[in-house]
């Protein structure tokens, strides 16, 4: 995060986040402003009541009392309504923003979602949106009050007695002067403070998360040192800040606290009264309302601090919203592929406009009903090839065509109806196993689900679970091993029964017993499909119709296994390594 985010120049942008509920917020602020006017009015009425009593001590001052009660009640009701309104608006804003963000995510390139990470995006949708609450709900009515109250108070004081108005203003001016002394350089200090604070959070997370690993290394001595250094830097900055601004900020707090204003008004007022230059009732009114100016300034200062904190969150929300969506063709112009042929035509690809090319001039053809394997060293681009087909990203140049239609000319639904995916990171939703299998096909019957599960070798272990197909999966559900989860996703793909199949390292994480079942499941899934598979276990693809060998983003070799081995190129080297890795035996000393 760059430090420039906390500049106050961004302030208008901060307010713009409330646009969807702006009407309600303005309403709330208006009410809060009127409420503070009524509060002042009620106090004036009380002073008036005493004034009347002074004139006629044996008569009830009914009218001022009644008005005081009415204004108090009104002010209270208005204030409460204002706070309720701003809170409801804030809640509504949270829902609105989360809905907008989640809909936006569904239209972004999947690659962005994967690169940013589900955790980070969840944090934006949850925590950052939640962080707006203090700003939108709590501070907007206070803002109204903080601006309305001093102005009205000053006007009222001026009307009551201009001497005392000047006295109150003088104290206030002194306070403000000291405040600005305290705030001198605060921008720079604030930046350093935020930075140190973020370093501490990062160090804490690293320290705590890595704990299980590092304790096996050095009982955490090194990481503890890193953690402590971040803490010390933070302590030093805060201490320095206090030392620099401490006296003036303490002083400003004292001056702006009600006591000095009150004392000044009492002294000057007492003098004026004894000189018979002022009426006791007026003095009383001044004493009741006079401290209001200073009192409403202090909250304003802490509010500024709160808003500055919210800025980071707002910035992150804006950042996600600004991410461009994946272009989708018009419904009328959209095309539908004729067959299950997959073709890459002169595909170039890079993740960011300025980044290096990850794929360069890649062209190949996968005829319908054939099996193509993608192999290559790590970082060669084979996984990228697999992920470009479902449009995780769009190609930079060239095109990818399915059944002779560019994937960008199809509606997303059409594309997805052509292609099924099994990726190595399996994901199950917090739902029943049956629903996880029939995901996207809600009309599939349980019999169809069971048939798919059987073909995916998942039926037996599902039936062994206490609740069978109704067992809940996902985070709050039952624990399934990697291989078992993988077979559920294969069952899902079998049920979907789409003509093209993209497999990415489908068997990477299985233990031996699961692996056999997994292999059988895959075999069933692949029946009669156009298959593109990213493979590491080279023995499995020996009989593929076509092997595409990638190296540093280029299609280096292509052909069948035997021919490629004979070429003595990249593939031959991979094959050699593979055989060597397979034969690796950890040797015991005593063996």
């Amino acid at each position: 995060m760059s430090g420039s985010l906390s500049r106050s120049a961004d302030l208008p942008k901060v307010w713009s986040i409330m646009r969807p509920v702006w009407g309600q917020i303005r309403f709330a602020m208006g009410l809060a402003g009127i409420a503070s006017a009524f509060t002042l009015g009620a106090l004036t009425m009380l002073a008036w009541a005493v004034h009347r009593l002074l004139a006629t001590p044996d008569q009830w001052p009914w009218l001022p009392l009644l008005l005081a009660v009415v204004l108090t009640v009104l002010a209270y009701v208005l204030r409460l309504t204002a706070f309720n309104q701003s809170h409801y608006a804030a809640f509504r804003l949270e829902t609105r923003l989360r809905t907008q963000l989640s809909e936006h995510l569904a239209r972004l390139p999947l690659g962005y979602v994967q690169q940013t990470g589900a955790g980070a995006l969840t944090k934006v949708l949850m925590e950052d949106v939640k962080a707006l609450h203090v700003f939108v709900a709590d501070s907007t009515p206070l803002y109204a009050r903080a601006y309305v109250s001093p102005i009205l108070t000053f006007a009222l004081l001026w009307w009551l007695d201009w001497h005392l108005a000047l006295v109150a203003t003088a104290v206030l001016a002194l306070g403000v002067a000291v405040v600005s002394l305290a705030m001198r350089n605060s921008g720079e200090m604030m930046r350093q403070y935020n930075e140190a604070g973020e370093n501490v959070s990062r160090a804490v997370v690293e320290y705590v998360q890595a704990m299980p690993v590092v304790r096996t290394f050095d009982t955490g001595t090194v990481t503890f040192g890193r953690y402590q250094r971040a803490l010390e830097a933070y302590r030093d900055i805060v201490t320095r800040w206090y030392r620099m601004a401490g006296v003036s900020s303490r002083l400003s707090q004292l001056i702006l606290s009600p006591l000095p204003t009150l004392a000044a008004l009492i002294w000057v007022g007492a003098w004026l009264i004894s000189q018979e230059n002022m009426d006791a009732g007026v003095w009383l009114a001044v004493l009741l309302v006079g401290t209001g100016m200073a009192e409403s300034l202090l909250p304003l200062m802490s509010l500024k601090h709160l808003v500055a904190k919210t800025q980071m969150s707002i910035h992150r929300i804006h950042e996600v919203m600004a991410e461009p969506e994946l272009p989708v063709p018009d419904e009328t112009a959209a095309k539908t592929p004729q067959d299950a042929n997959v073709r890459f035509e002169k595909v170039n690809f890079c993740y960011t406009p300025s980044g290096p090319l990850v794929l360069r001039d890649v062209s190949f053809d996968v005829p319908a009903g054939t099996v193509t394997a993608l192999v290559g060293p790590s970082g060669a681009g084979k996984t990228t090839v697999a992920r470009l087909i479902p449009r995780f990203w769009d190609v930079t140049d060239g095109s990818i065509r399915i059944g002779d239609v560019d994937v960008r000319e199809m509606l997303p639904e059409t594309l997805m109806q052509q292609v099924a995916f099994v990726f190595q990171d399996t994901f199950l939703f917090a739902d029943s196993l049956a629903n996880n299998i029939r995901l996207g096909l809600p009309e599939a019957t349980l019999d169809e689900v069971i048939a798919a599960a059987k073909a995916a070798q998942a039926h037996d272990f599902i039936m062994a679970l206490p609740q069978g197909y109704d067992t809940q999966a996902g985070e709050r559900g039952i624990f399934l091993s990697g291989g078992q989860r993988q077979r559920i996703t294969i069952a899902r793909a079998i049920l979907q029964n789409r003509p093209i199949l993209v497999l990415d390292e489908a068997t990477a994480f299985a233990d031996p017993e699961n692996e056999a079942a997994l292999v059988a499941a895959l075999a069933n899934l692949m029946q009669g499909k156009t298959v593109l598979m990213v493979a590491h276990r080279l023995s499995t693809i020996r009989d593929a119709d076509q092997i595409l060998v990638f190296d540093q983003g280029q299609l280096a070799e292509r052909g069948k296994h035997d021919a490629l081995v004979a070429q003595k190129g990249v593939y031959a080297r991979l094959w050699h390594n593979y055989e060597q890795a397979q034969d690796w035996v950890l040797a015991g000393e005593q063996a």
Partner: protein, 595 residues
Amino acid sequence: MSTNTPPITSLRETWRQLMRSARSRSARLRASLIALAVAAAVQGLALACLMPLFQTLIPAANWQAALPWLLIMSVLMLTSLAIRWWAQGFDYLGYTVANTHELRTLMGEQLRRIPLELLQDKRAGEVNATLLGNVDENLNYLLTVAAMMAHALITPVVVALAALYFDWRMGLILLLVFPLLIPLYRWRRPSFGRGMQMLADANQRTSSDILEYTQGLPVLRAACCTGEKAEHLRDSFSHLEKIQTIGQKKGAKPNLILATVMELAVLLVVFLGILFVVQGSLDIALLAALLVIVVRFSEPLATFVIYAKVIDIMEAALGKIDALSNIKPLPQQTPAQLPDGFEIRFEEISFAYANTEKQILRNLNAQLPARSLTALVGPSGSGKTTITRLLMRHADPQKGRITIGGVDLRAIEPERLNELISVVFQDVYLFDDSILANIRMARPDASDEEVEAAARAAHCHEFITRLPEGYQTLVGEIGGRLSGGERQRISIARAILKDAPIVILDEPTAALDTESEVAVQAAIDTLVRERIVIVIAHRLSTIAGADQILVIDKGELAESGKHQELLANQGRYARMWQAQQSIKEWHITSAQGVI
């Protein structure tokens, strides 16, 4: 997540926790808090001066009589401000910062001592990270809040007591009305807690729904049902909004009553005062003075209600800090002993993780001779990893004992035990620091040459020197550019540098591609030379040469022996072996899929 209302700690317990958390500064903190109370009381006295003062000015002004009271009032006000100034020094002179700093340091040290099993799961990590991260936010406002409480509670009582002297009826009314706030506040807290819990649950639900949605987006898009799930998500959002709205309404009710009581109290004082004045039994100057004073109370009382939340948050944080500090480290037997050999024995081990019922290991016996290679095999969840964790003393077994060189693990000092064991995990954790520092963390006193030698032995040197800044390259800046195999080799370099006699390999090559695998295997071959090695591996061919293979099933030792013996046994191991051999033969062709 419990659905119960969090228990309310008594004020005395909170005070004790607070003093404990202030550690060496508790005397200064106590003095500061008491000073704040005194300042509030003196302020009450200063305000009380308004009563005699007004009597000298209303209805007829007498400057000579007023002057002494004006002076007394001013002196009292200055005294109050001065005491408060001193008390706030706890913040401004850096005591608070020093204190949160010390607390964080101590809690960090505590994390290094408590049994590792308590830190293993991710949630525990998040909880602790939040706790350590927010210490300052939770405790920094302590004095501000305390000052506010003092003004809201103590000042009114002092004024009321003083008022008794001038007019006992008015004094009594003040005394009855304003302290009412305390029971009212205690009364509304439970409902606050309940609302918070409901809200926390709803937030939790929305949060996990969002996480599921973002994690599952690729699958959802592939299944063409983003809309469907998005609807579910929207339900979750509106559910949260409903709970928030209810919470706001419910929370508003006690606040409403509190605020009404306060506003009414002011009006009540005025009404009764006017009644007594009209009756002729109360000096009108006293009424005017009381009016000015009472109006002063409403602001602190109102802020007090708002800040009541902060008090709850502070109390909760103090409770959690206490809970973390109270976790006992694993017991250490005295006198500490040094193992003279490295032979490892597991004797009748039974084990279940803390706060769980399930027995992970049952009556396990095993012996690992010096310089031998032992493989642990078995289905996932059978307890293989737990065995290695017990050896590293993440936790102690409930029954049985583990010895190294004949010495009970519990008698070996943690640092010493640590020096004995290196681990290579499947996941590698690299720190946001240079590659050099990442390797050297295994032995901080190692020279650059030693680090480089270790890197060479782990087959890292070549790719490290190809990086833009070689060994000084920051991992954070190239994070994604290191492949799994390269990261793994860095972790093996660490282990080589550490040079411990016992090596644990937990699936070190499972997540690697073929090319990396060969290099990692070569690195491991260097690492395991001349050591006791315990390896967990799925690919059985890897460990066919092991001195002994322990087949673990459901926490028990199902079989043990050498590869050939186990094959001859025709048991579990033999079945796994055959399953794996048959997959080796698997390959795909078009049309029928599999031959």
